[in-house]
C-alpha cells in the first residue's frame, strides 16, 4: 500500500505484541452495528504514473491566465514570483513541519514569522502584526470583531466600496451575534463621505474602509479617518493591497487603528483563489484583542536570543470559549512565501513593482478611453485596477475576447454595475499586451 511502511508480517508481529490475533480484535469497543461491512465506493487505486497522467489531463482542461492575456483582479493578482520563493517553501524543513509549539526545534519557523511580522509592520507602519489569517476577507471580519470586543459597541460601518466577497464573509462572521452592519453607499466608485458623516455616532465600534478599493480607486483615507475618530472610541480599520503600500500612504500616516488585507500578491500564485492569506496589524494597545499567532523574541536557558509564540493567552488552546478567535491552522507557508518575496524584492523592488503596475494601468486606461463608447466608470485616482464603462454588455465583450485568448477583466454586473468591466494590470504586462487588449476592444466595438 502506498505510503504505509509496515508489511503484513510486521503487522502480524505487532498484533502479537499487542496480544490480539487479528486487527478486528482491536475494534471491540465499536458497536457492531456501526462497522461498515461494505467497502467505500471509490475508483480502484491509481499508481503514481496513472495519477500523474490524470492530473496533467485535468490541469490541461483549464485555460490558465498564463496561456491567455489576462487582466483579472478583484482580490487575486498575477504578480511575478521569483523562482527562489518556490525553492524555499519546498524545503521539507518548512513544508512538513508542524506549528512551532515546541520552540526548541522550531526556531526556523519562529524566526521567519518574526521577520514576516517586522516586514508587515514596516509596510503598514503599525506596531504589531500577527502571523496570518485565512484570507483578506476573514482578516477584515476578525478585525471587526476585535473592535466590537474592545469598544463594547455593536454598530459596524463598512464603506460600500469594499470587495463584495469580503462583505459576504463579514456578514457570515457578524450575523446572529448582535452586531449591526451599516454599509455606506459607494455608487460613485468611492465611499460617500456625506453619508458616512451622517451614519457615524457614538455607538459605532469601527469604520472599515478598503483602499485601493474593490474598483481599484484610492479612497481619501484621511477624510474617512477624521470622521471615524469624531465618534467616541470608534476604531478605524483599513483593508489594503500590500503591493500598493510601497508607494501609497502607510496606514500609520492616516492614523489607522487596524490594518488588514489580502497577502496573496506577495509571492503567492493565484491558485484558483486558494490558498490565500490575510494579514492583520495594529497598535500595541490593541494587541491583547488580536486573533491569531504572534511570535516574540526571547532567550533560551543559556541566555541566547531566540523566538517563541507569545501572547498565547488570547488563543483557543489556552482560553477556549474566551479566546479572541477560534483560529488554529492558518496559512503559515503562504506567510513564508511572502517573507521570502519581500526579502528578495527589498524596498526598491517593491517600489518598482508598484510603479510599473500603476503606470501600466494608467497607460491602458487612457488608451481604452480613447475608443469610442468606452469611458472611465468612476472619477477617482486609482492604483493598478480600474473600472471601465462599456458601450455594449460586458459579458458579450468577455465572451468575444475569450476567442482571442484575452481575459479582459471582471464583469461588475453581478455586483450592481451594469456594463462595467474591472481591469487589473500588474508589472508582468508588456506594452504589447496592453495594446493587444485595446485593439481587441476596438474590434468588438467595430463588430
Amino acid at each position: 500500500m502506498p505510503f504505509i511502511s509496515n508489511t503484513d508480517p510486521e503487522r502480524r508481529e505487532m498484533l502479537k505484541a499487542i496480544g490480539v490475533e487479528k486487527f478486528e480484535d482491536l475494534l471491540v469497543n465499536i458497536p457492531l452495528e456501526f462497522l461498515q461491512n461494505k467497502e467505500i465506493s471509490l475508483e480502484p487505486a491509481y499508481s503514481e504514473l496513472e495519477i500523474s497522467r490524470k492530473i496533467s489531463k485535468l490541469a490541461g482542461m483549464n485555460i490558465s491566465s498564463s496561456q491567455a492575456n489576462a487582466f483579472l483582479g478583484g482580490g487575486v493578482y498575477d504578480h511575478f514570483i521569483p523562482a527562489a520563493v518556490e525553492h524555499v517553501i519546498l524545503k521539507p524543513e518548512f513544508h512538513s513541519a508542524y506549528t512551532p509549539y515546541q520552540a526548541e526545534v522550531s526556531q526556523g519557523t519562529l524566526q521567519y514569522i518574526y521577520e514576516y511580522q517586522t516586514m508587515i509592520c514596516d509596510l503598514t507602519g503599525m506596531e504589531i502584526s500577527n502571523a496570518g489569517m485565512y484570507d483578506g476577507a476573514s482578516a477584515a471580519a476578525e478585525a471587526i470583531l476585535m473592535t466590537v470586543r474592545k469598544t463594547k459597541k455593536n454598530k459596524v460601518i463598512i464603506c460600500g466600496s469594499i470587495n463584495p466577497n469580503y462583505l459576504e464573509v463579514i456578514k457570515t462572521y457578524t450575523e446572529g451575534i448582535g452586531i449591526e452592519i451599516s454599509v455606506i453607499p459607494a455608487t460613485s466608485g468611492f465611499v460617500d463621505i456625506q453619508e458616512l458623516n451622517q451614519e457615524i455616532d457614538d455607538e459605532t465600534a469601527c469604520v472599515l474602509l478598503q483602499t485601493p478599493n474593490f474598483f481599484g480607486n484610492i479612497e481619501d483615507a484621511f477624510a474617512v479617518e477624521k470622521i471615524t475618530h469624531t465618534a467616541k472610541n470608534a476604531l478605524f480599520i483599513v483593508c489594503v493591497d500590500p503591493i500598493s503600500l510601497a508607494i501609497l500612504n502607510a496606514p500609520v500616516e492616516y492614523r489607522a487603528d487596524i490594518v488588514v488585507g489580502e497577502g496573496q500578491s506577495l509571492g503567492n500564485a493565484q491558485n484558483f483563489g486558494g490558498p490565500l492569506f490575510g494579514f492583520l496589524a495594529t497598535s500595541l494597545k490593541l494587541s491583547r484583542t488580536m486573533p491569531g499567532r504572534i511570535v516574540g523574541a526571547t532567550e533560551d536557558a543559556a541566555g541566547k536570543r531566540c523566538y517563541a509564540l507569545t501572547l498565547q493567552a488570547r488563543e483557543q488552546h489556552i482560553r477556549r470559549a474566551k479566546a479572541t478567535s477560534n483560529i488554529c491552522s492558518n496559512q503559515a507557508l503562504c506567510n513564508l512565501a511572502a517573507t521570502v518575496y519581500m526579502a528578495l524584492m527589498g524596498r526598491e523592488g517593491l517600489i518598482e513593482i508598484a510603479k510599473q503596475c500603476t503606470t501600466k494601468a494608467h497607460y491602458l486606461a487612457a488608451a481604452i478611453t480613447k475608443i469610442e463608447g468606452y469611458k472611465m466608470a468612476f472619477k477617482s485616482p486609482f492604483f493598478k485596477e480600474f473600472a471601465i464603462q462599456t458601450p455594449i454588455k460586458t459579458e458579450k465583450i468577455i465572451s468575444q475576447l475569450k476567442e482571442k485568448n484575452i481575459f479582459p477583466g471582471i464583469d461588475l454586473k453581478p455586483f450592481g454595475h451594469e456594463n462595467t468591466l474591472l481591469i487589473a494590470v500588474t508589472e508582468k504586462k508588456r506594452k504589447t499586451d496592453l495594446d493587444l487588449l485595446v485593439s481587441a476592444l476596438q474590434e468588438v466595438q467595430n463588430g
Binding site: M1, P2, I4, S5, N6, L15, F23, L27, L35, Q36, A45, I55, L58, M61, N62, S64, L72, S96, A97, Y98, P100, E104, V105, Q107, G108, E115, I128, A137, N165, G176, A269, Q270, G273, G274, G296, T298, E299, D300, A302, G303, R305, C306, L309, L311, R319, A321, K322, S325, N326, N330, Q331, A332, L333, V340, G346, R347, E348, K355, T359, I410
Partner: protein
C-alpha cells in the same frame, strides 16, 4: 543564533531583476502627491544568495517529518507524499484565476466536484462544502449550519451548544464565534461522554452537541446512538469534530451512525502538508436536509459540464472564504485519495490503530496510561503523573527530553481531563523500527527520571537552542526587529 534578514542588509544589494518599464508615464502623473507614501518601507536589501543562505540557515533549526518521528496526538503528522507537490505545481492550477469563465476552469471544477463526492462517500454524508480552509474554520461553518437550521424553523431560543470537557479548544471558541453559548459536560470514568450529565444539561434551548470521535483520549465514543437520540429529541443537531477521522476510514461512516455534520481536516487525514501551521483545509459534510444551508457556491455538474452552483443562495449561510477555499490543498487530498483507493484508505486506519496500540502496550509499564485496558484507536493518552509524584518531573520536562532523543514531543497537557497528559499519535506511515526506537527512548527517559532527573529538568540540550523562556516573550514583548543587533 541566526542573524535576522534585516541585519544582512547592504544598501544597494538586489535580489531581483526587472524588465524595463516600456510604458513611459510618470508615477506623479497618475497619483496625487497627497496619496504617496512619505518614507519608504524599511524592507532589507539583500542578494538572492543572501536570501537562500538565510532561509537554509533557518531551515536547519527546524524539526520536520522527513527528519523524524512526530508523535503529536490529534495532529496526524503523517508523511506527505512528494507526488502531490510535483503535481500541484502546474500552470493549469497555479495561474488559474477565481474570476475566470466557467468553460476555462473545467478541470479544476471536475477535481472539486469529485472531491466533494469522494469525501461524502468516505464519511456517509450527503454533500460536502470545500470552502472552509482549516478545521476550526470548518467548525465555525458547521455551527453556522446549525444556526441556519434553527433560524429557518423560527427557533431563535436554540442558543446553546453542548460539548464534553475533553473537546479541542477550537470547539468552544468556534461555538462563541458562531454566536452560541457553550455548555460543557463531564466525561465519565471511561473517558466517554457522561450520558447522565448530558441528559441533565439538554433542554429546549439546546441547539446542538459537538463530539470528537474517536475522542481526544483516542477512544471510540460508542454511545453515539444514545447521544443522537437525546439530542435529536429536542431537535438539536450533532456535530462531529473530524480531527480523528484517520482512525475510522472504511471502518465507520459518521454520517450513518447519527452525526448530522462533520468537518474533515485534509491536512491530517488526507496527507496534505502542515506547512509549519498551514495552509490546511477543513471541508464540512452534512446530511441531506442541511445541504441547502452550505456556503455558496457548491460545485455542480450538468450534462458533463461543471459549474459554480449558487442555486441555494437564498437559504445558504453565505460565504466563509473570498473564493472557493484552499483549492491547491484540496487538489493534494484528491490525489492522495485517488492513490489509496478504498482498500488503501481502510489500510491507513488499520495501521494507524495497530501502531498506536503497539506503543501503548509497550509503554504501559513505564507510564501511567489511564485507559490502558481499552484498546485505543489511532492515538492514546499517557500521563506523567508517576514521574511527577515520585520524582518531581513535569510532563513538560519529559517532552523536552524527548526532543533530545531526536523525536518531536507528543501533544502535552491535552486533553485537559488527564493530568500531565501526553497524547501520542504515531500515524500509519511510521514503521515498526521507528516505533521501537521511540519506545526505547521513552523507556530510557522513564529510567532517567529515577537516576538522573537533572537530565530532564535541563532538557533539551541537543537542540538548536536550549529551553526557551516563554514567559519572557510575553513580559518583554518584542514582536518586530527594531534595528538593534540580535546577534547575542
Amino acid at each position: 543564533m541566526a542573524k535576522t534578514i534585516f541585519e544582512k542588509n547592504s544598501s544597494g544589494r538586489r535580489g531581483f531583476t526587472f524588465s524595463n518599464n516600456d510604458v513611459k508615464i510618470k508615477l506623479e502623473d497618475c497619483i496625487p502627491q497627497k496619496y504617496l507614501r512619505m518614507n519608504n518601507a524599511g524592507l532589507p536589501e539583500v542578494s538572492e544568495l543572501d536570501v537562500m543562505r538565510h532561509f537554509s540557515e533557518l531551515a536547519h533549526m527546524n524539526y520536520f517529518i522527513e527528519k523524524g518521528f512526530y508523535p503529536l496526538g490529534s495532529c496526524t503528522m503523517k508523511y506527505n507524499p512528494k507526488i502531490n507537490e510535483t503535481l500541484v505545481r502546474n500552470k493549469g492550477f497555479n495561474d488559474l484565476h477565481p474570476f475566470q469563465q466557467e468553460d476555462t476552469i473545467q478541470g479544476a471544477l471536475e477535481i472539486l466536484f469529485e472531491l466533494q463526492s469522494m469525501l461524502a462517500e468516505i464519511s456517509g454524508f450527503n454533500q460536502v462544502s470545500l470552502q472552509p480552509v482549516a478545521g476550526a474554520h470548518g467548525e465555525f461553518t458547521g455551527l453556522k449550519v446549525i444556526k441556519e437550521y434553527h433560524t429557518a424553523k423560527g427557533n431563535t431560543h436554540k442558543t446553546k451548544i453542548i460539548l464534553p470537557d475533553s473537546a479541542h479548544g477550537t470547539n468552544p471558541a468556534s461555538v462563541v464565534l458562531a454566536g452560541f453559548e457553550v455548555v460543557e459536560i463531564k466525561s465519565n470514568a471511561d473517558g466517554m461522554t457522561d450520558l447522565q450529565d448530558l441528559r441533565d444539561h439538554v433542554d429546549e434551548n439546546t441547539a446542538g452537541f459537538m463530539l470528537t470521535n474517536p475522542n481526544t483520549l483516542g477512544l471510540f465514543e460508542k454511545q453515539v446512538k444514545e447521544i443522537a437520540q437525546i439530542i435529536h429529541s429536542v431537535d438539536g443537531l450533532i456535530y462531529m469534530d473530524g480531527a480523528n477521522l484517520n482512525a475510522i476510514l472504511g471502518i465507520v461512516k459518521p454520517g450513518q451512525i447519527g452525526f448530522d455534520i462533520m468537518h474533515y481536516n485534509l491536512h491530517k487525514t488526507f496527507a496534505t502538508p502542515h506547512g509549519g501551521g498551514g495552509p490546511g483545509s477543513g471541508p464540512i459534510g452534512v446530511r441531506e436536509d442541511l445541504t441547502k444551508f452550505l456556503p455558496v457556491p457548491l460545485i455542480g455538474k450538468k450534462r458533463d459540464k461543471y459549474f459554480l452552483d449558487y442555486s441555494h443562495e437564498k437559504t445558504s449561510l453565505g460565504k466563509v472564504h473570498s473564493f472557493f477555499g484552499n483549492f491547491l490543498v484540496n487538489v493534494r487530498a484528491y490525489i492522495y485519495i485517488k492513490m489509496l483507493g478504498a482498500k488503501g484508505l481502510k489500510r491507513v486506519s488499520e495501521n494507524a490503530i495497530i501502531n498506536a496500540n503497539y506503543i501503548m502496550k509497550q509503554l504501559s509499564k513505564y507510564y501511567d496510561i489511564p485507559h490502558k485496558d481499552i484498546y485505543c484507536m489511532h492515538e492514546f493518552v499517557a500521563s506523567g503523573t508517576w514521574q511527577k509524584e515520585k520524582h518531581g518531573i513535569k510532563t513538560l520536562d519529559i517532552a523536552k527530553r524527548i526532543l533530545d532523543k531526536g523525536f518531536h514531543a507528543p501533544t502535552i497537557y491535552f486533553p485537559l481531563i488527564v493530568s500531565e497528559a501526553m497524547m501520542i499519535e504515531p500515524t500509519e506511515t511510521e514503521s515498526k523500527e521507528t516505533l521501537d526506537e521511540f519506545i526505547s527512548a521513552m523507556i530510557e527517559i522513564a529510567q532517567e527520571c529515577l537516576e538522573n532527573p537533572d537530565l530532564l529538568k535541563n532538557a533539551p540540550v541537543d537542540t538548536p537552542v536550549k529551553r526557551v523562556n516563554d514567559t519572557l516573550a510575553v513580559r518583554q514583548l518584542n514582536v518586530k526587529y527594531d534595528g538593534t543587533s540580535q546577534d547575542v
